[in-house]
Structure formats: structure tokens, C-alpha cells
């Protein structure tokens, strides 16, 4: 237990100090935080519940548009803000900006969770790949449809309110870094807390055999919906922050970016190891580093490198890093292994 506290303390301190140690990497670090949040929340569905969703991007995009719309709409007419691709200029005072952003984030978290609850009953009744494809369809449809809605900028995109003019140049980066870091810590702790309750066991039961779980008297649908709402809540928050960070929302390329973010969150969780608490965190971190590295060193070839990486990950490390470690050092995961039994199993194969 003691070690745990030291570890978490160290990470917390590192997280707080990071933007000051690496001031040039603030935006990278903020994006890393967001990626980790997405991977953790995906893991609640894909890892613990066994529902491989591509649809979490829906909540992420929804959160992004909602946060920006509320931030604008609280002080200025939204329609005029986006008219003509955002030609008119309205300036938020610092107070307005931060108030708007706070309220925006709250809305960006709550509304996606409600949406998840509303559609959950219909969508979560599907299983296996039908669920995966249905959620994929949801994400793409949301992107295409939001691209046709005038009030949020339609095809011209939505420029989010620019960060107010404060004297320090670094303020914007720091603000968004700490926002995303705090949400990350919050997400991590919340998910960790949930994982220590019966709720996680129910989710695992659903993953392992939903019919049996139902036969045991568990209202699986209720738990599935709650699980999805939790994911949606944090995805929405992540989306809201990302919108502010990028500064420009485009329906299919930034918000409902299913082909990139939507798939990446799955890959990160799998790379790290699904069904573990730390797996998505490690996976997201490594993935981000890989990706940034490819960007720098394989200009133009980064997709080739990324494609090969993905194929290698899913073929050779489908259990992810944590799964691999667990296989290799089961004792360290608190599992008691009978060596003789293990050998017997290996020979059986």
C-alpha cells in the first residue's frame, strides 16, 4: 500500500511539474492526457464489458461541439458566431471565457451521458460485431449529419473562442494542459474506484457470458447502460477540452473523427492490454510516442509505419503489454501459479 502511495504521488508530481520541465511539449502532453482518457473509457466497454465499441467517438464529438457552442452561446448569438464561416468577431473577456468553458465542459459531460442512456437500450441489445458495426455507423452518421447543420458551422467548421489575451504567452498551453490533466486524474480515480466495486464484477460477468449472467439474476441491460453512460461522461469531457485546444472544429476531421481517434482509442487500449487498469494508460503513452516519432522521422511514411505497427500489435500482442507481462510474471500480478500445472498446460497445447 505504501508503495502505491509513493507511485501515485510520483506520477501526480510528475504530471504537475511536466509542463514546466518540458514547456515546449505542453500541447503534446495535453493531447497525451486526452488520449489516455479515451483509452481508459474505451476499456470500460471493450475491455471489462466485452462490448467492442467504435461509437465512443460519438460522445467525444458531441462533447466537443456542445462545449464550444455553450461557451459561445452563453454570451453571443451562436448563429451569428458561425455565420459565413465565422466572419464576425466577438471577443470573450477572460471571465466570460473561463465561465463559458466551465459551463461548457459540464454540459459536454452530462449531455453525452444522457444521450448514451437514451440510445443505450436500443444499441446495447446488439452483440459482438453487430454492436461494433452499429456503433461505427453511429459515429460516421453523426459526423456527416453535424456537417450539414448550419448553426454549428456546417462544412465551414466552428472556430472555438480564442483564448483571452492575458499577458503570459504560456498561459493557454498551461490552462489546457491542467484541464486535461485534472480530468485525467479524475477519470482514472473514478474508474479505479468503480473497478474495486461489484460493478466491475458484473461487467466482467457480462463479458464472459452474458446469458449466464442474466440467468444469475443480474439485470445486464441496466449495468451495460450505466457502463456506457460513464464512458460517455468522460469522453464528452475529453472532447470538450480537445475542442478548445485545437481551436477549430470540423465535423468529420476533428469532432467525429472515427477513422482516426475512433480507431486509435481502441488500438491504444489493446496495445496496453484490455481489461486492466494500467494497460490503456501505458498503451496510450506508447502509442502517442510512436506516432510522434513516426511523424518526425518518417515524413510521409508515417502511415506505412503506423499500419505495420497496428498489424504487428494485433497479430502478435493481442493481449497487449499488460497481458504479456501478466503471462510472463504472473506472481507480480498477485496471481498464484502452480508451476507444475502451468507446465502441464503448456505441453497440452
Amino acid at each position: 500500500m505504501n508503495k502505491n502511495i509513493i507511485l501515485y504521488g510520483a506520477i501526480l508530481i510528475f504530471g504537475i511539474a511536466a509542463p514546466f520541465i518540458f514547456p515546449a511539449f505542453k500541447v503534446q502532453l495535453s493531447i497525451l492526457c486526452i488520449l489516455i482518457i479515451l483509452a481508459i473509457t474505451w476499456n470500460v466497454q471493450g475491455g471489462e464489458m466485452g462490448y467492442n465499441t467504435f461509437g465512443n467517438i460519438l460522445f467525444y464529438g458531441l462533447g466537443m461541439y456542445l462545449c464550444a457552442s455553450v461557451q459561445v452561446g452563453m454570451f453571443f448569438p451562436l448563429g451569428e458566431w458561425t455565420e459565413g464561416g465565422g466572419e464576425k468577431t466577438f471577443v470573450h473577456t477572460p471571465a466570460q471565457f473561463f465561465q463559458g468553458f466551465a459551463v461548457g465542459l459540464a454540459v459536454a459531460a452530462v449531455v453525452p451521458a444522457i444521450v448514451a442512456g437514451l440510445i443505450g437500450y436500443s444499441i446495447l441489445g446488439l452483440r459482438g460485431h453487430y454492436f461494433a458495426i452499429c456503433t461505427l455507423g453511429l459515429g460516421v452518421a453523426a459526423g456527416e449529419i453535424s456537417g450539414g447543420i448550419e448553426i454549428i458551422g456546417a462544412g465551414q467548421g466552428f472556430t472555438t473562442p480564442p483564448f483571452p489575451n492575458v499577458d503570459r504567452l504560456e498561459a493557454r498551453g498551461e490552462f489546457f494542459y491542467f484541464c486535461s490533466f485534472i480530468v485525467l486524474v479524475f477519470t482514472f480515480l473514478a474508474v479505479k474506484a468503480i473497478y474495486s466495486t461489484r460493478f466491475k464484477l458484473v461487467l466482467n460477468a457480462i463479458r464472459d457470458n452474458e446469458d449466464k449472467a442474466e440467468a444469475m439474476g443480474i439485470q445486464t441491460m441496466k449495468y451495460k447502460i450505466i457502463g456506457w453512460m460513464i464512458s460517455a461522461f468522460f469522453c464528452g469531457l475529453a472532447g470538450g477540452i480537445m475542442g478548445g485546444l485545437v481551436g477549430y472544429i470540423d465535423s468529420t476531421d476533428v469532432a467525429f473523427d472515427g477513422r482516426e481517434m475512433g480507431v486509435f482509442m481502441v488500438l491504444m487500449a489493446i496495445l496496453g492490454g484490455k481489461g486492466t487498469l494500467w494497460g490503456p494508460v501505458i498503451g496510450a503513452t506508447l502509442f502517442h510516442i510512436f506516432k510522434e516519432g513516426f511523424w518526425t522521422f518518417f515524413l510521409g511514411w508515417q502511415y506505412v509505419a503506423l499500419g505495420v505497427l497496428i498489424v504487428v500489435i494485433v497479430i502478435y500482442f493481442p493481449e497487449g503489454i499488460m497481458g504479456w507481462l501478466r503471462e510472463k510474471y504472473p506472481e507480480r500480478f498477485g496471481e498464484v501459479v502452480d508451476e507444475a500445472d502451468r507446465k502441464a498446460q503448456v505441453t497440452l497445447k
Binding site: L7, G84, G85, A154, G173, D257
Partner: protein
């Protein structure tokens, strides 16, 4: 519990990785002025991204060959750091941030397309990094009061303005009926705004107003509507894919319209890919090689086109020409500022008033180039099926007369 140790090592490994990967490019290293650019090398805008990059590269080589940039009595050479923004605004914004804060770039060149420029402009503005961009034409870029953004091109809403006015003039000053189809992206939607304005001004009516999804390569439905309502002008804009798809399906469906106005004809190599089918298409362009502007580096448009073709093997579209011009503007501004101070370079840029092979360049308050009109050319083919783009408006440079109305398909 040793797993925690692994995690600790892991975290520190990342820390080390981050700290060692700081490769510091300063703005000026030795005799090099380093410019940063995020370009779409992959993704849906990659063809135009490559045109942009070719334009940049050609100008950099040319300026370096011809003696480089003289600042403070010393000669410097240009160098560009490229990143691939994957045609994605989110990536573009991150890359701008990265170029500025990680790589230490202090002067930027623009990306391709308005959407990406819109994503990058707030970042460069925040850091006070002067950016000369050549491919972000959206009008909303110039109404935001950006101080460090300079565009060598005319805003998007002016692209097809002339076409509508010409159509109205040919119609005896009475308003025309317009059908339009625009892709769902910032640039095309801005062209649409221009048409809406022009329509209002001239009393024209818009009878079809379609927005094409980005992934779509089929406009049969729109064209069927066009066929049914018979408008006087059909306007299509959707980067290269839009232009190619439109011509293919107009020819196949035998859609007769008196005037067909488009964008991106030259980037799409329309006359080469479609031959006679593309005949009579009226195209908005920032530049055409027959314009008579001159400068010291590329001489004039015809020489530029010939040199470009020698290097890259195709006729330069205007996207390449304007990108090359962006470098000339930077060179000029550096020499007049005679320093690398960002504020002073910015002021020098704002005071730019020069002629390049691409056109006159003079920036308005908002950063757009106000001294260069758009040109319209029409694809014209001879009997042998060889097609050429000929300038038809404005009259000053016209090398051919506008053919209006377009002959019906049955008579071609």
C-alpha cells in the same frame, strides 16, 4: 507489487525520451533561415498539398541559387521544415504548435486549404509568428483581425464573382438563375458565400443549392435536378475531385447549361484528363501563365511554367504559383526589415507592395491581397481534341473571347 516498479521505470523512460527528443532548430541557423510548413502530403487534399510543396521548393531553390536573402549585410539561404498534416485540421493545429514551440520556427508558410489555415492561424497569431500563406482563401480568415497572417491570394468569395457578373451582363443585365453544388469544406463554402452575395447584388435567383459530402464522388442526383430545372449558370466547387466528377457526369448525362463555372480546373488537370468533354468549362483561377506580371526570379508566367514543367513534369496549377510567390514575399520582407525580429518582419510584410510573376502583392488590413484580381479562363479545344486553358476575363489579359452560351451536347 513489482509491477509498480515496472511502471515507474516506464514513466521515467518516457521522461527521458521526451527530454532528449528536443531537437532544437532555431529560426536562423548559420546561414539558413528556417521556415516551417505543415503540408497535406497524405489524405484527401494530398494532390493539392503536393502542388503547394512543389511551389515552395521551387521558389526556395531559385532564391537560394540567385544569391539568397541579404539581411544585415549577410547572405542567408531559405530552408523549410515540412510536416505532414494528413489533411486534418486537428493535426495541422498540433503541427503548428510543434513547429513553433518544439522546433523553434519563427516564420511560417501556410498549409493547403482554408480549413487547415483556419486551424493554424490562431496558433501563429498567439505566438506572434508571421505566416505568409498561399492557399487559405476563406473570407473569414481576413475578418478576424489576425495581425500575423498574410495571404498572397484573393479571398474565396471573389473566385466566381466575375462569372456571375459576366452571366448577368450577357443576359442583358437581368438576374440569372443559378444552380450550385459545393463541397462541405471551408473553402468551397466560402466560394458559395461569394455567389450568394453576387446573386443578391445582381438580383439573380439561386434555384439549386447542394452541398456535397467530402467523401462523395457521385453527383448524379444534383445533375439530374439541374437537367430538370435548366438554370442559366451551374457552379461547382469541390477541389480536384469535385471538378473531375462534375465534368465526367455532366458529359455522361448530357446536361446542357449555358454557363458552367468551376474551381480547381488546372489543379485537376481537367483538360488533360477529360479532353473534349471539359470544353467550355469556365474556371476561376488566382493565376494563369499568360498573365503579364514580371519579377527578377521567375521572369514571367510563361518562364515559370516552363521551368516548373522541367522540374516536376506537369503544367503548374495556380496553387503552385501562389506558393512560390509566398517565398518571394518573405524574401522581400526580410530584406526590407533587415532583421529577424518577428515584429519588424511583420511590419515589413504589412508594408509589402511588390510585383511578382504571380501578380501584384499588397496586403489589406486583414491580410488578404487586394492588388490582384481573379482571372477566369475557359477550357477551349481545337478540332484535334487538344485543349487549352484560355483567359477570358478580365479583358486586360484575355487571350480569347468567352464562348457563351455553351453549345448543346447534341450539337457538339
Amino acid at each position: 507489487m513489482k509491477i509498480k516498479n515496472i511502471i515507474i521505470t516506464f514513466v521515467s523512460a518516457i521522461a527521458i525520451l521526451f527530454s532528449t527528443s528536443v531537437v532544437s532548430f532555431a529560426k536562423v541557423v548559420g546561414d539558413k533561415i528556417i521556415l516551417g510548413a505543415a503540408i497535406s502530403l497524405t489524405g484527401k487534399y494530398s494532390s493539392n498539398g503536393v502542388h503547394t510543396q512543389n511551389g515552395y521548393n521551387m521558389a526556395v531553390d531559385r532564391i537560394n541559387e540567385m544569391g539568397g536573402v541579404k539581411v544585415g549585410g549577410k547572405t542567408y539561404k531559405f530552408d523549410i521544415i515540412y510536416y505532414d498534416d494528413e489533411s486534418n485540421p486537428k493535426r495541422a493545429a498540433q503541427l503548428a504548435e510543434r513547429l513553433i514551440s518544439q522546433d523553434g520556427v519563427e516564420f511560417m508558410l501556410g498549409p493547403y486549404s482554408s480549413g487547415l489555415t483556419k486551424a493554424i492561424a490562431p496558433v501563429t497569431e498567439k505566438y506572434g509568428v508571421p505566416m505568409v500563406e498561399a492557399n487559405g482563401a476563406s473570407r473569414s480568415l481576413f475578418t478576424k483581425g489576425y495581425k500575423y497572417l498574410f495571404a498572397v491570394l484573393a479571398p474565396a468569395n471573389l473566385y466566381l464573382d466575375v462569372a456571375i457578373e459576366t452571366a448577368v451582363a450577357l443576359n442583358g443585365g437581368k438576374g440569372v438563375r443559378i444552380a450550385q453544388a459545393f463541397e462541405q469544406d471551408a473553402f468551397s463554402q466560402d466560394v458559395r458565400l461569394g455567389i450568394l452575395d453576387a446573386a443578391e447584388r445582381t438580383g439573380s435567383k439561386i434555384i439549386i443549392d447542394d452541398k456535397l459530402p467530402k467523401e462523395l464522388n457521385d453527383m448524379a442526383a444534383t445533375l439530374a435536378k439541374v437537367k430538370a430545372v435548366k438554370p442559366d449558370v451551374l457552379v461547382v466547387s469541390g477541389h480536384t475531385k469535385g471538378a473531375l466528377t462534375a465534368i465526367r457526369q455532366i458529359a455522361e448525362m448530357k446536361v446542357d447549361v449555358p454557363m458552367l463555372a468551376m474551381t480547381h480546373c488546372d489543379a485537376a488537370k481537367l483538360s488533360k484528363q477529360h479532353g473534349k468533354n471539359s470544353q467550355y468549362a469556365l474556371c476561376a483561377s488566382q493565376w494563369h501563365k499568360t498573365l503579364t506580371y514580371k519579377d527578377d526570379f521567375f521572369k514571367d508566367g510563361m518562364t515559370y511554367a516552363a521551368d516548373f514543367e522541367k522540374l516536376f513534369g506537369y503544367d503548374p496549377p495556380y496553387q503552385s504559383a501562389e506558393s512560390s510567390a509566398a517565398l518571394l514575399v518573405f524574401k522581400d520582407a526580410f530584406e526590407r526589415a533587415n532583421t529577424f525580429d518577428q515584429k519588424k518582419v511583420r511590419d515589413a510584410l504589412a508594408a509589402t507592395n511588390m510585383q511578382t510573376f504571380y501578380g501584384n502583392i499588397k496586403f489589406a488590413e486583414g491580410g488578404q491581397n487586394v492588388d490582384k484580381p481573379m482571372v477566369l479562363f475557359q477550357v477551349m479545344c481545337d478540332d484535334a481534341g487538344k485543349c487549352e486553358n484560355k483567359v477570358v476575363a478580365p479583358l486586360k489579359w484575355a487571350s480569347a473571347e468567352l464562348i457563351h452560351p455553351i453549345p448543346k451536347w447534341s450539337e457538339r
